[in-house]
């Protein structure tokens, strides 16, 4: 490096920091500060109207023995079961499109449509479709599968799998497109060579494409996990409203209801914090995996 170059680089270095600073400051202001506030308020008892009262670890003690919280956490984990679905199924679908199955352009267009709709719209329509006299049961009866008809939302045993399906349905097209992007840079001659050697499509997919798409799969893994823990609120709110009873509560839904309906803002903060601690461990590991080769 020439002397001039290194001087230039030094002055550039200053700009590196200054360019990144606004973004970091913004995050600290609107994500970091709330996080701090969350931590603080989780040690208080607060109804939103009077002053918060410090009660130390009391909220966390209650949390440990709170059956609703435990159940909500379990539900979040259940919803995280969509993640393997979200990572693998769109991969297979993308491959089918990639190898230009008849109608592939059409499929590619249609698959992304659910992602365009608001989750409120999706959830509302899902709640109408899943009613006892709703379209799903109508269709099942029409094709002779009368015995499979259910009041899908009457119990968490049936409503949770349904919500998982809805979430998958809303997001799969998006993941398909991401995979397609990844596949487009894989050398097509590899596939041709494999075909000539008599390989079946399944083998091509699993032995050739999947390994080369590891990066993309990681991306999908991260975004799907975030969805399962961070974006279930609207689905729960519109489809089951947490019911019956508390059986379909997710952790963030519980925090919301504790804060705004029950006016336990301190406890709500504790709920949020507990989940966050759990997740930051998982999230941190994921991020380190993703940025490992880029540092």
């Amino acid at each position: 490096m020439s002397l001039a170059n290194s001087a230039l680089r030094r002055s550039e270095a200053k700009w590196g920091f200054l360019y990144a600073a606004p973004a970091m400051a913004f995050i600290i202001a609107f994500v970091g500060y709330p996080l701090g506030s969350l931590v603080y308020h989780s040690f208080t008892k607060w109804d939103g109207l009077s002053e918060p009262k410090w009660i130390g670890l009391h909220n966390f003690g209650t949390l440990l023995s709170d059956p609703v919280f435990r159940n909500a956490l379990i539900n979040n984990c259940l919803f995280a079961l969509t993640v393997p679905l979200q990572v693998t199924v769109p991969l297979a679908l993308a491959y089918l499109i990639h190898r230009q199955l008849p109608g592939w352009r059409w499929f590619r267009t249609m698959f992304f449509l659910p992602a365009i709709l608001s989750t409120v719209v999706v959830g509302l329509i899902a709640s109408l479709v899943l009613q006892l006299k709703g379209p799903l049961n109508e269709v099942l009866s029409a094709v002779g599968l009368q015995s499979l008809t259910h009041d899908w939302l009457a119990s968490s045993k049936t409503s949770i799998p349904m919500i998982i399906l809805v979430v998958f349905w809303a997001n799969f097209g998006y993941n398909v497109l991401i995979y397609l992007g990844g596949m487009s840079v894989i050398d097509p001659s590899m596939r041709e060579a494999a075909l000539i050697d008599g390989a079946r499509n399944w083998t091509i997919l699993t032995r050739i494409y999947a390994p080369n798409l590891r990066r993309v799969m990681e991306l999908v893994l991260v975004t799907s996990t975030v969805t399962a823990f961070a974006y279930m609120f609207t689905y729960v709110y519109t489809i089951t409203n947490g019911g019956p009873g508390y059986s379909t509560y997710t952790t963030e839904f519980y925090a919301y209801s504790q804060a705004f309906a029950s006016q336990n803002l301190g406890y709500a903060s504790a709920v949020g914090l507990a989940l966050m601690l759990l997740l930051s461990a998982i999230g941190f590991i994921q991020i380190r995996l993703l940025t490992r080769d880029e540092r």
Binding site: L35, R108, V121, V226
Partner: protein, 289 residues
């Protein structure tokens, strides 16, 4: 390759061709999936033109008339013009702010060497792991303290902040893939950092920026929870929250509700139809690196 060898290759590959029946099943499966994807839009559209009586009988069915009365009821009943405009404002504000925050930062992380860069990058990205909804209570408290409740600015700030980590990740990954030679030659030409970013890098990054714009716009348009809590009075609601008002306490006017939901969905569907090729390219390209 001589003709004999070539025909041998062709013979072999033809012999091992995948049986068409499996292809047929795959096409059938994908068609069903595609049909399910388009179902909600049809569901809303058909039911917006059917009557309440039709709906009571069955939720599935073709409309018999094309009278837009339900749309009129939704339009006035849910104050749609105001909400629509609010949504547009919020989305535009969010996209612009997000870009202005993420682009410089991503360039700094991708192409500038500075001390502490990797730590700062990790720091910025790590916030992605936080489920945004869990911050609903403290963000609400913060907006109270800033006196921004019921102000659209609150939502714009929150949306931009919540997506910043992801936006930075997206742009940084993309910028990293840009060849250094171009930037080096610009440096040799004594171009300043700003010029490099604005006149060279950004124009080269159209697809990534398009991806960013699409994601953030879509997300902001459809966002529900923060809008629900931070926006209170009638004049400031966005479409996603406002349209739910069509659900009544004593009985829901379902055709009007469907019409209202359709109005909420149509703009984004329109964007998708018109910019589809571009969007698809942007997403697939953006995911490449």
């Amino acid at each position: 390759m001589n003709v004999k060898a070539m025909s041998a290759v062709i013979k072999r590959s033809t012999k091992r061709r995948r049986p068409p029946i499996l292809d047929g099943i795959a096409v059938l499966g994908l068609s069903l999936l595609a049909a399910s994807a388009v179902f909600p839009v049809l569901f809303m559209a058909f039911n917006a033109f059917r009557t309440q009586a039709d709906w009571d009988a069955s939720k599935l069915g073709f409309p018999t008339t094309l009278s837009p009365v339900a749309f009129e009821r939704a339009w006035t009943g849910a104050n749609i013009p105001t909400y629509f405009w609010n949504s547009v404002t919020v989305v535009s504000g969010t996209v612009v702010l997000s870009l202005f925050l993420a682009a410089p930062a991503s360039y700094a992380f991708a192409k500038i060497q500075w001390p502490g860069r990797s730590v700062a990058y990790l720091f910025t990205l790590s916030w992605m792991a936080i489920p945004s909804l869990l911050l609903i209570v403290p963000i609400y408290i913060e907006m109270v303290q800033l006196h921004l409740i019921d102000n659209k600015l609150s939502v714009i700030l929150v949306y931009s902040a919540l997506n910043l980590s992801f936006n930075v990740y997206l742009l940084t990954t993309f910028f990293r893939s840009l060849p250094n030679e171009v930037l080096e030659s610009a440096r040799i030409d004594r171009a300043s950092v700003h010029r490099i970013l604005w006149s060279i890098v950004l124009p080269m990054s159209r697809s990534a920026i398009a991806t960013l714009v699409v994601f953030n716009a879509l997300w902001a348009w459809n966002e529900f929870v923060f809008a629900l809590i931070l926006l209170q009075s009638d004049g400031s609601l966005t479409l996603t929250v406002g349209v739910l008002q069509l659900q009544g306490r004593f009985g829901t006017d379902y055709p009007a509700l469907m019409a209202g939901l359709l109005i909420t969905a149509v703009p984004m569907i329109g964007v998708y139809i018109f910019f589809q090729r571009y969007i698809v390219q942007a997403i697939t390209a953006g995911a490449v690196k």
